[in-house]
């Protein structure tokens, strides 16, 4: 039957697969896409299917693709009626892989052990919920064990005098556990903001922070203050104008022909007014960043301070980079970075988060600057070529899906991948999940783009069943609001794609 399609799904190979309804429609679309002539005999269809089945590499068919480990199913209590229960259970498991109930939306929280949840299973909806919860809790149990081990390894690595960045990258690529609060330090090391030699940290940090302070003073001053400073340096303060009695006020020359209505290109006033447009746009975008998170928005003093910091960083970046200035979307890339660095448990780091984030942001964006430059759109480093790289990657790993998407349903990757790539997947997942994905992206030794493309490819492959069954509208809708999934599973798949890229 349709064994070929069940690559990344829950079911083991030997189990009876999906309910009848889906099987039929799938078979139809399947044969639509693969048969060349409408009149194909059954045996020919069979052989075609077998052929296609052979094309699936063995490693993709292995049971390790199930997101819930197999042993959990053996532990589950027998359902009320065997065939019904099978159907319900398998249907429930499939629904957990494709669409998740709310339980998967929360960041990884260690749930109570499965045994306590499972007895509550009689009504159907509850079965679905509890089994998804149980599968995710199974995940959490096993992953929390992994987490603890990884956390210990990371802490050990960080405690060394000279941190081995390669080792750190390897550990980080599997995800950094939330509990230890080390994400901020690890990211700073991965982005090469902190040197690997711990002894140099304090001097490096002091140097960078004072550099940022100078940037702020130079670039964020308004022209009145600048002219005042200029004059105070040229004409030293003479006592006063205050104590005079009556008289005509003395007129004085303006320095360098600088006046507020000046239209000269080099005039600080003119540049100020030109920048004010960008500053307004930055202000608008910052106010719209993550409106659901109290860290970023709301009326509290801390939210306002955070927004102020985000604005300062973006304004200084725009002024220092007249080539790209500010492009909408940079605020989305900055937000998780600032969030992580600001929530560093170390007081000193948290207070100086703005300066640190600025340099990390510069480093992160340096690889992606070309995506934001409109003139480079069609060039070899621009966004179009990156999207076509993704397309090629998908073709290499899953030709059938590629063909169905691009040729049959004509879903041009530009429609969905543009946002995925330029915003580094921050908009496709909830905030906590995107932090996990960023762990993997930042840990790539050759820069985040490689891992980013692999994760995008994995995202497509994970929903391939729905994509293959869908037409242009359905597929586009699915990809533009990507359903939430288990992020560790996603990263695992992406990782596998890299190691088997020669196939």
């Amino acid at each position: 039957m349709n064994l070929a399609i069940r690559w990344f799904h829950e079911e083991d190979d030997d189990r009876r697969p999906e309910p009848q309804l889906l099987t039929n429609s799938e078979e139809e679309t399947y044969s639509q896409t693969t048969t060349h002539s409408p009149t194909l005999s059954d045996s020919q269809k069979q052989s075609l299917q077998i052929m296609v089945k052979k094309r699936v590499p063995d490693w993709l068919n292995s049971p390790m693709w199930t997101s819930a480990p197999p042993k959990s199913r053996s532990q589950s209590p027998p359902p009320p009626s065997s065939s019904n229960g099978d159907r319900l259970h398998s249907y429930a498991c499939k629904s957990s892989s494709i669409t998740s109930s709310n339980s998967l939306n929360e960041p990884h929280v260690t749930l109570p052990p499965p045994a306590s949840i499972r007895p509550v299973r009689t009504p159907r909806t509850e079965i679905r919920d509890s089994s998804t919860r149980s599968s995710s809790s199974d995940n959490d149990i096993t992953s929390s064990v992994d987490d603890v081990a990884r956390q210990a390894e990371l802490l050990q690595e960080l405690s060394r005098k000279i941190v081995n960045i390669g080792e750190l990258r390897r550990l980080a690529s599997l995800g950094i556990p939330d509990a230890a609060g080390i994400r901020s330090t690890v990211w700073k090391l991965l982005l090469a903001y902190l040197p690997s030699d711990k002894g140099l940290w304090s001097s490096e940090l002091a140097k960078k922070r004072s550099q940022y302070k100078h940037f702020k003073e130079d670039l964020l001053m308004n022209p009145s203050e600048i002219t005042r400073k200029l004059e105070d340096s040229v004409y030293p303060k003479n006592g006063d104008q205050i104590s005079e009695g009556k008289g005509l006020l003395a007129r004085s020359k303006i320095p360098h022909g600088e006046h507020p209505l000046s239209l000269g290109k080099t005039s600080i006033w003119n540049r100020f007014f030109q920048d004010s447009e960008i500053i307004e746009q930055i202000d608008r975008d910052v106010k719209r960043t993550h409106p659901d998170m109290p860290f970023f928005s709301g009326n509290s003093a801390s939210a306002e301070a955070n927004q102020e910091s985000l604005k300062n960083i973006l304004i200084i970046y725009a002024k220092l980079n007249p080539g790209i200035r500010y492009v909408q979307g940079m605020n989305e890339i900055l937000a998780p970075l600032f969030y992580v660095l600001r929530n560093d448990p170390n007081e000193d780091y948290a207070v100086n988060a703005e300066a640190d984030t600025f340099f990390c942001f510069v480093e992160l964006l340096s690889g992606f600057q070309d995506n934001f430059c409109q003139q480079l759109d069609n060039s070899i480093v621009g966004i179009r070529s990156t999207i076509s790289k993704l397309s090629q990657l998908l073709k290499k790993h899953d030709e059938e899906l590629w063909r169905h998407l691009e040729v049959t349903t004509k879903v041009n990757p530009h429609f969905y991948a543009f946002r995925w790539i330029t915003l580094l997947l921050t908009q496709e997942f909830n905030f906590a999940d995107s932090l996990h994905i960023w762990d993997a992206l930042l840990s790539d030794p050759e820069g985040p783009q490689g891992t980013l493309l692999r994760v995008c490819c994995a995202m497509l492959i994970l929903v391939r069943r729905r994509l293959l069954a869908g037409d242009f509208t359905a597929n586009l809708k699915l990809l533009q609001s990507y359903p939430s999934t288990n992020v560790s599973h996603l990263l695992y798949v992406a990782n596998k794609l890299s190691s088997h890229s020669t196939q």
């Binding site: 205050i242 008289g247 004085s252 303006i254 006046h259 507020p260 209505l261 000046s262 239209l263 007014f273």
Partner: protein
Amino acid sequence: MVLVLAIGDLHVPHRAPDLPAKFKSMLVPGKIQHIICTGNLCIKEVHDYLKSLCPSLHITRGEYDEDSRYPETKTLTIGQFKLGLCHGHQVVPWGDLDSLAMLQRQLDVDILVSGHTHQFKAYKHEAGVVINPGSATGAYSSITYDVNPSFVLMDIDGLRVVVYVYELIDGEVKVDKIDFKKTSTATI
């Protein structure tokens, strides 16, 4: 950093057709936060033009203004400064600094802006500062024909004001500035 434009005595269309082109090229919307106008525009079109430069427009009535609804005097607070506005034809003798000082004490303002004489003046006395932006079109006045077009832009920043004087002399725009500070409790 608040930019306030002080302008007046345009006498359009009776005594002058329009602002000088060089002034018009400099006055673009988006830069100025407030406009205070001493009066004698005289017609609605000039009012609309000034309104397009900046929505916050304050005018007092000059003797030739066609819109009779403008007030005789006006006071407003910008930043730390209190500004008073009056056309000046009401204060006799015209342009007399002592009489203007009396008006300033009456209005209780730090900076009094008044016009009518079509001559730029910036004068300081114990009660405060009097600024006359002159005539922006260079229209003749009841006193003299020899008038240079001029207006004033004030940059109010905390307790400090920088007054930029724009004059059109021999076809060229000349800009000068005047600085003064206010002590926090007393007036200037």
